[in-house]
Symmetry: C2
Subunit: 202 residues, 2 copies
Amino acid sequence: MSEEHNTEQQIFEAAKKVFIRKGFDAARMQDIADEAGINKALLHYYFRSKEKLFDSIFQSILKKLVPNLEKITQDNVPFNEVINRFVRTYYGFVKENPFLPLFVINEINRNPEKIVQSFLSERLPLKAFFDRVHQAIETGEIRPIDPREIILNILSLILFPIAARATMAGIIFQGIEDDYNQFLDHRIENIVKMINENLKTQ
Amino acid sequence: MSEEHNTEQQIFEAAKKVFIRKGFDAARMQDIADEAGINKALLHYYFRSKEKLFDSIFQSILKKLVPNLEKITQDNVPFNEVINRFVRTYYGFVKENPFLPLFVINEINRNPEKIVQSFLSERLPLKAFFDRVHQAIETGEIRPIDPREIILNILSLILFPIAARATMAGIIFQGIEDDYNQFLDHRIENIVKMINENLKTQ
DNA sequence: GTCTATATTGTGATAGAC
DNA sequence: GTCTATCACAATATAGAC
């Protein structure tokens, strides 16, 4: 009873792990079967094809990567504190899920329609943040700026160093990833400062 | 005579185009043959294998993407002008070569040793920039900061929006790429400002 | 050097026994 | 539901004629 065997769920989790690490093209059905501890034929029994298996996984991953800013904006904190929370919680998340950013970027590149499907139907969790920015501009808390620019700057500064880890660690740290990790942790402080300074009025 | 046929060079250029656009895994030898206007067998005649053909191309591409900061730092201009030139010329380059960043990131991920080969032998073009930063710190022109942090911030702000074009345009511009391009062009101004403000003393 | 034809290998998918 | 064995196809690589 407590040991629900549930093969379908087992496959799902295994596939998630393999797809995220290798991407759709490089992922092998054999890898997924091995990871799940079963054989290839069962994959096709539960999910008809590799593509179908992938699709069932992708949407949930994309949602996890788009920052959920509703919680962060709902408390009535000053705007620079909104930025502070945004940067720190989002960095904490991608640090724990370092393969997600590049995975999502590549898969959307491979098939751009995938993103439309999921974001046309429901409301983006970015709406709350955009509203909060406009409010901060009206009250003179920050200078006038397109909210999308703030989002793009923060995501760039956080996601790029993770997505391009091997490249950047190779170029500026001779490939020593431990040093690079420490460097990134320490740098978060400065990102918050940089973003907030850029938003100051006058 | 003036019409040097030179099949090898023709293959090389075709392969470069196809590899950059599709990546190593997704690139097909047939695609390259078509692009070069010859057949598959000739590819193997000139370059023994797909891997060998790829390797002969990759190093030159990597070098092009690592910013060459020697020219920019050699004139005796104030440091904020160094930043200004760096950001604008580098953005101009990747705008003309939008597939390079993600291509390099993915291929180094696939095979991290590739980067070591090329950068252990010769001196990085970043050295001149690092020296210029240290000089600017000593003269009090900018605040004390790790030069690698400046590089990483600039590359993040410029490369990420290009590498993740489909994703970001999809999330914040409903996939309308023309609007996204204009948005990026206009944003460069603010990147220069943001980086320079962050480097101010006090 | 350049081509056509074919060998070889890898992988997604299916058939069929249990 | 789960397995083994096999199909079908795609893609790299090679043989051999010209």
